[in-house]
């Protein structure tokens, strides 16, 4: 909207973008500037805890068209530090919507900038890599903004999970009454056949929804829960969630995971995938500009089938670093051949880098939740009758 106040986005390389502010126009945003190529799903993206501390640029130029609603959220609040778009709608239109994107960002204290050449921004990030940036409508002095952009702490080595994990363990109860939930693959079975402990590094609600839909009872625990805490809950399986930031920066969780490996079936997504790799003794590395979008082709190497996947990660697992172990690459990204998932050949453990829960994105990989349930089932069958009674 042309009446919105003037704002600037300045990158650490000195690139300046002048546009207009919306949302919390009196606030500023600082953080790593990243881009997401998904056409739909801005509300899910904004509320995804993995974007904590990042300024998200949407490559699709029109954002806010469908407003916001109470269901399409991946956490309780807006997590992104700032929002960048070519045009923020002034009028929302969708029967599901309850409010405007503009007001929503304002209520959540997050500033957005519109009216800039987002494609130029994306091309800078693609060529030079993700970088720090600042959005402001109060300070329009480019020199000052550049200086402040350069003072923003780097993502590397930053533990952002503590910003987004839960304070205390809780039992998940579904929020989603929208009627837009996918049916679970085992919807005809009794609910809650398996108890899963979810280690929350910033878990997306849709992951919890999908696990629940596949018949899991969920106890969500904070990221600093110890292996003993987790084992004390006597779960059938452990889920390692997605989350923001550098996997190397959360050493304490890596230690916890090391203790859990082999004891219970484990499934990890995104950060959970990276942490599993690190716990197994592998390495991760930072991608130039990350994978963020809902159109990434991944091949399931076990079936040979392709999946269109939802992705959001700036770090990736170096699979070569796991070569000495009985680890098998199960999923590969067809764009850049990076690891998208692996499994342990001997232990009940598998994980993927991408987001089978969608939210936003395609549902092609939803079967992975079923695989996790099947794994827990197999492990249960392996157990002695006495152990089952204990369980």
């Amino acid at each position: 909207m042309l009446s919105r106040p003037k704002a600037k986005l300045v990158l650490e390389n000195g690139a300046v973008f002048t546009g207009r502010a919306f949302g919390a126009t009196d606030r500023e945003a600082t953080g790593e500037v990243v881009f997401n190529t998904s056409i739909t799903g801005y509300q899910e993206i904004l509320t995804d805890p993995s974007y904590n501390g990042q300024i998200v640029t949407m490559t699709y130029p029109h954002q806010g068209n469908v407003g916001v609603n109470g269901y399409d959220v991946e956490s309780r609040a807006v997590q992104a530090a700032g929002f960048v778009t070519r045009e923020a709608a002034r009028l929302r239109s969708n029967w599901r919507s309850h409010g405007d994107l503009d007001q929503y960002l304002d209520q959540n204290g997050v500033i957005g900038i519109e009216g800039i050449d987002t494609r130029r921004l994306v091309r800078i990030l693609r060529e030079e890599g993700a970088m720090r940036g600042i959005i402001s409508a109060t300070d329009l002095d480019e020199a000052s903004l550049l200086e402040r952009a350069r003072a923003i702490p780097s993502m590397a080595g930053l533990d952002l999970t503590k910003n987004v994990t839960c304070d205390a363990p809780y039992v998940w109860a579904s929020l989603d009454e929208s009627g837009y939930r996918l049916p679970g693959a085992s919807a005809d079975l009794d609910d809650a056949r398996f108890h899963v402990v979810v280690v929350d590094y910033g878990v997306k609600h849709n992951i919890l929804e999908r696990l629940a839909a596949f018949g899991c009872r969920l106890t969500v625990v904070p990221s600093n829960a110890t292996a003993a805490d987790i084992m004390a809950l006597n779960p059938d399986g452990i889920f390692l969630s997605n989350g923001p930031g550098d996997p190397d920066a959360v050493k304490y969780t890596i230690e916890t995971i090391k203790e859990l490996i082999g004891k219970k079936p484990i499934f990890g997504i995104c950060l959970g995938h990276q942490l599993l790799a690190l716990a197994l003794g592998g390495k991760t590395f930072k991608l130039k500009f990350g994978h963020r979008g809902a159109n990434h082709p991944v091949q399931n190497l076990q079936t040979g089938l392709n999946e269109i996947t939802s992705q959001n990660h700036g770090f990736a697992v170096d699979l070569d670093s796991l070569q000495h172990l009985p680890i098998e690459l199960t999923h590969v990204n067809l764009n850049d051949r990076t690891s998208e998932g692996f499994r342990h050949k001997e232990l009940p453990l598998f994980c993927v880098q991408y987001h089978p829960e969608a939210g936003p994105g395609p549902h092609d990989a939803d079967y992975l939740f079923g695989d996790f349930v099947a794994m827990m089932q197999r492990e249960r069958e392996k157990m002695q009758p006495s152990e089952i009674m204990e369980a």
């Binding site: 699709y60 399409d72 599901r96």
Partner: protein, 1100 residues
């Protein structure tokens, strides 16, 4: 899973002539398929009856059959070529229907041909509504409630359950032919009957109305491993109730949450699997209730479609090309993405711009047809535009339509001038606008604009017309910007360009900001000029002095996530320009814009040939066009593609950026030709015939002088600007006269007048057609033969490419008449006169490049009617008939090569094969329009018949055009008084000798009896029953020969045409066409129809 090794040759089916609902998008897809399969080392056999296609170029397939697309001919080709597989998914509904028929008749089995892309079962499941409904039930998806009916009684039963309004959809028809919406029982009965007749299997689906729901389409690909991906989503701006082909659409969908979008995506994937489309592209249409999100499946097409052409151009993902590869066994992950090269095709494109498509209609060409849109498609073409916002894309799309609108209003063409209206006038305008809004027409978008300007709220517009509020708000923002520009008019006047640059004053800075924003909203210089009462050039100069120029972004399938290697661009007003100018010698070729009657695929064909020729010569060739259906907008065809409107402003922006050596304007028809003068005035070098030469050909006064000097006869003529002047000229030159406005294409508003009263009437209407230009009046040569000559000249040499003789007598628009190459009824001396006149004229006009000349021959004397120093509609036909690409030669000549270097000879008078072109008309879509041909062009497409005998070529052309001649039975004949002459009698005698019985009305019957031709007299329609209509309805008439009486067809003649069409009885409207038909039937009695490929015909 790599390529199958058991398929070594494939037969590809084209879609035949351009008709409403099936246009050049299938040339685009078929050409891609042919190319890619040949690259894979397969032998490609092609069947397509349409000569104006790139796909029928002899170097595109190994064996090219320009033969009718029927099972009969398909079987002959299969028997001869013995292909391993048949690919029916590239040629639209025509190809699917023929493939299904061939499979059901056992032809494929007999010759061991496998159907690839889609199998019989999948096609039937997708096409047969009953099977489709069952499949959707299996997939757990909902469809609109309703049922199939085969009789009126069943229909009444169904409608009593679902209520009104009810939708009527006949089974197995093209583009929804025969469909409609009924709001009451009377209307319902009438439309149901029409629909039952339109359906080849006499069956109609009656459904609950979902009018006003949101409409979406998904383009889907599936490979044989069951990988399914979505190429793009399309949201119709026009809500349900208007055929998708007639809707303004937007890519991607704008008003869906992620969950809704993915629910739709999941549904599309389930549908692909349930229908069993093994490989390739399909499109699935959905409707969603805006109030509660209820999702309904409308239909799916198990083949590439108009939408997939649009999706390919909108995303850069070449659906047809990939589909062809999938059909021969590749999987998506094995195929690289052309644009990014390093990433595979197994992804889903994402875009960072908005694409808007607007259809183009030609209602004024069909008198008596109401401009109202519904479930039956009526548009003849479409334009598409890119923008970084919907606003920008919409305004660019509107000016791309080339209907003299330069955006959403504010261009001097608006219905209301609100500033000068009284409150009472405003109130009545509001009421009128709301009434108009309730009805969908070709100008509904401007009704929304009017409503917004008159203060009707977005919500009210939604309530009346169901346009989604988000789209309406985008338009409201355009309207608000218009107001801001108006408000700034005064301050803008004060700033002249050079002052603005020098001053850097705050006022100039404000103005800069305002113009920048207006440009971002898609406003054209023309709109700003009109609002500020300046010229377009003033605004252009001002804008440039303020540093406001567009940048060019790239269409890259991935929203810039990866590097793009394909220079496919669109303009926008932002910061970064991605289009890199090369240091090569560059030529820009301007395309033809949206298809319309009179300017269609033939001109795109010429453009593509020019591109190919100049690329072969080492030029960097840049294409500018805005028609998503075409081959010319395939990024693979050119070195660089700009998908942009063809207006002076947009084209000039590209020229200024690219700095080409020259620009070619004479291949895309009237659209680019109109730009020649302004471009030249702006210092652009136009290649080919100078605008001086063009002007000399078009300015009647100057042309008249030239003709006198060259000593070539022309019919007497004059130009008039008033009624009295017109009548005086007519008296001088003698009746009948041909009247037309100057500077028109396709015979728009051309008429033959026999009386002064008619001229007066005409002058009143013509004045609106082209106010600045006088009306041309020529003596009309009755009963004359007409010839079209295509030639190429280089300023000194001239080569005659083709001489065609029309079958219809002069008076029928050359684009509508059938023609024969070489001429079938001409003496050597006359032929040589045509050649010599052509040379004289080409030299006299200093033609460099192509030239088309129309001649008429009356009593042995040859007159020149018209000279057009540009590519003509007949160039593709001539090229197919002779095997020489004259468009390519013309392009090279325009770039400076001498004609002598090509070693060409003039077309000989006798050839070993005869080619016949026959036109195809959209009358079945416009049942109320007259079927009689005249000087106003109304055909949408053409077919070609080629054979060693003229008669057989005529028969083939008739079969290909869908008007197969009967070999026996009853003819109903009614001749105009003019046609009651010996030559016509001979024709009817011929039919009688072949064993036809003849029914005739009073006058004709008497004439035939006098001539000794046996006939039975029947009643005229007005005389009572049983009359001709009853005989037709009872299936007793196999052929109607009805030549119109004078200038306006009588009502009963119109009815006759409509009924014949309804009962699919061939209808001949000229005596010469009847003679040609007779010669065809005679040849058919002597020999059988054979098939032969172009490659065989061309073999010396």
């Amino acid at each position: 899973m790599p390529k199958r090794t058991d398929i070594r040759s494939v037969l590809i089916l084209g879609s035949g002539p351009i008709v409403i609902g099936q246009a050049c998008e299938f040339d685009y897809s078929g050409t891609q398929a042919c190319r890619v399969l040949r690259e894979e080392g397969l032998r490609v056999v092609l069947l397509n009856s349409n000569p104006a296609t790139i796909m029928t170029d002899p170097d595109i397939a190994d064996a090219t059959y320009v033969e009718p697309i029927t099972v009969e001919f398909l079987e002959k080709i299969i028997a001869k070529e013995r292909p391993d597989a048949l690919l029916p998914t590239m040629g639209g509904q025509t190809a699917l229907n023929v493939a299904v028929e061939a499979a059901e008749q056992g032809v494929l089995e007999r010759y061991g041909v496998e159907m690839i892309g889609a199998n019989l079962q999948a096609i039937k499941k997708a096409e047969d509504r009953e099977l489709f409904l069952e499949a959707m039930n299996n997939a757990g998806l909902e469809m609109a409630r309703g049922g199939f009916v085969e009789t009126l009684e069943q229909g009444v039963e169904v409608v009593q359950q679902i209520g009104f309004p009810a939708i009527i959809r006949p089974s197995f028809t093209l583009g929804g032919t025969g469909g409609g919406v009924a709001y009451n029982m009377e209307e319902y009965r009438q439309k149901l009957e029409f629909g039952l007749n339109a359906s080849p299997i006499h069956r109609v689906l009656v459904e609950e109305s979902i009018i006003g729901w949101k409409e979406y389409e998904l383009e889907v690909m599936r490979d044989k491993k069951d990988n399914v991906t979505i190429i793009c989503s399309i949201e119709n701006v026009d809500p349900m109730g208007v055929h998708t082909g007639d809707s303004i659409t937007c890519t991607p969908a704008q008003t869906l949450t992620d969950r809704e979008y993915h629910r739709m995506r999941d549904a599309a994937i389930r549908i692909m699997r349930e229908i069993g489309v093994e490989t390739g592209g399909s499109n699935v249409q959905f409707a969603q209730n805006p109030d509660d999100g209820r999702l309904i499946v409308i239909e799916m097409n198990p083949r590439v479609s108009r939408s997939s052409a649009l999706a390919s151009k909108a995303t850069g993902f070449p659906i047809a090309k990939i589909a062809a590869k999938l059909a021969i066994g590749y999987t998506l992950d094995e195929i690289p993405n052309d644009i990014t090269r390093l990433t595979p095709a197994s992804f889903e494109p994402t875009i960072d711009y908005v694409v808007v498509k607007i259809p183009r209609w030609d209602f004024p060409k069909f008198k008596g047809v109401e401009d109202q849109l519904g479930v039956q498609m009526k548009s003849v073409g479409e334009a598409m535009a890119f923008g970084r916002t919907f606003k920008e894309a919409l305004q660019k799309a509107i000016r791309s339509l080339e209907q003299d609108r330069y955006g959403l209003g504010a261009d001097g063409k608006d219905r209301y001038n609100i500033a000068t209206m009284t409150e009472a006038e405003l109130e009545s305008a509001r009421a009128d606008t709301k009434t108009r809004l309730a009805k969908r027409t070709s100008t509904s978008i401007f009704d929304i604009y009017d409503a917004l300007k008159l203060g009707v709220s977005i919500q009210e517009i939604f309530r009346i017309a169901a346009y989604d509020p988000w789209f309406v708000d985008q338009m409201a923002q355009i309207v608000e910007m218009e107001q801001q520009l108006r408000d700034a008019a005064e301050s803008a006047q004060a700033i002249v360009p050079h002052q603005a640059a020098a001053a850097g004053a705050p006022a100039a800075e404000d103005l800069r900001e305002l113009i920048w924003q207006a440009k971002q909203f898609g406003f054209s210089d023309r709109q700003i000029a009109w609002l500020w009462n300046r010229t377009e050039l003033d605004i252009r100069a001002l804008r440039k002095s303020l540093g406001i120029t567009p940048v060019f972004k790239t269409v890259d399938t991935c929203a810039a996530e990866f590097q793009a290697f394909t220079p496919y661009h669109y303009s926008t007003y932002e910061e970064e320009n991605e289009s890199v100018r090369s240091d090569r010698r560059t030529v820009i070729i301007l395309g033809g814009g949206p298809n319309r009657i009179g300017q269609g695929i033939e001109f795109d064909y010429c453009c593509v040939h020019a591109v190919m020729a100049l690329r072969e010569q080492g030029y960097e060739v840049i294409m500018v066009n805005c028609n998503p259906e075409t081959v010319s907008t395939d990024y693979d065809v050119t070195d660089k593609l700009y998908f942009e409107p063809l207006t002076f402003e947009d084209v000039m922006n590209i020229i200024e950026h690219e700095q080409p050596e020259g620009v070619i304007v004479s291949f895309g028809g009237q659209t680019p030709l109109k730009l020649a003068k302004p471009l030249e005035a702006a210092g652009v070098r136009i290649l080919g015939t100078s605008s001086e030469g063009i002007d000399l050909a078009e300015d009647r006064q100057r042309f008249g002088e030239l003709i006198t000097q060259l000593n070539i006869p022309v019919p007497a003529w004059g130009t008039a600007t008033s009624q009295e002047e017109a009548v005086a000229i007519a008296e001088r030159v003698g009746y009948p006269v041909l009247v037309r406005p100057s500077y028109v294409l396709g015979g728009r508003a051309m008429e033959i007048c026999y009386r002064p009263e008619r001229i007066r009437e005409y002058m009143q209407t013509a004045a609106q057609v082209s106010p600045d230009h006088p009306v041309l009046i020529d003596h009309f040569l009755e009963k004359a033969f007409e010839f079209d000559v295509d030639a190429v000249a280089d300023g000194s040499d001239v080569v005659i490419g083709g001489i065609m003789q029309h079958i219809e007598e002069a008076g029928v628009h050359s684009g509508d008449s059938s023609c024969v190459l070489p001429p079938y009824n001409i003496e050597r001396a006359q032929f040589e006169t045509l050649v010599s006149y052509t040379r004289k004229l080409a030299r006299g006009l200093n033609v460099i490049g192509p030239v088309n000349i129309q001649f008429a021959m009356q009593r042995g004397i040859i007159y020149v009617l018209e000279v057009n120093p540009r590519a003509s509609r007949t160039i593709p036909f001539v090229s197919k008939a002779t095997g020489i690409s004259f468009a390519k030669i013309a392009a090279r000549v325009m770039a400076g090569e001498p004609l002598s270097s090509f070693n060409l000879r003039d077309m000989p008078m006798a050839m070993d094969h005869v080619s016949v072109k026959e036109s195809v008309f959209p009358f079945s879509k416009f049942p109320r329009s007259s079927m009689f041909l005249g000087p106003e062009m109304r055909s949408t497409g053409e077919v070609m018949g080629i054979d060693s005998m003229t008669g057989l070529a005529v028969v083939k052309a008739r079969i290909a055009s869908g008007n197969r001649l009967p070999s026996s039975g009853t003819i109903f004949a009614t001749l105009s008084d003019n046609d009651k002459r010996p030559r016509v009698a001979e024709t009817l005698r011929g039919f009688a000798e072949l064993g036809f019985t003849i029914l005739a009305t009073d006058g004709t019957s008497r004439f035939l009896t006098e001539e000794g031709i046996p006939n039975t007299k029947i009643l005229k329609i007005v005389e009572g029953q049983p009359n001709a209509l009853d005989y037709i309805r009872n299936g007793q008439v196999r052929l109607v020969i009805n030549t119109p009486s004078g200038e306006i067809a009588r009502d009963d003649e119109k009815t006759m045409g409509a009924v014949s069409m309804e009962y699919k009885v061939p209808f001949i409207t000229t005596a010469s066409a009847a003679a040609a038909a007779l010669s065809g039937l005679r040849s058919l009695n002597e020999s059988e129809l054979q098939v032969q490929s172009l490659q065989e015909w061309y073999r010396p």
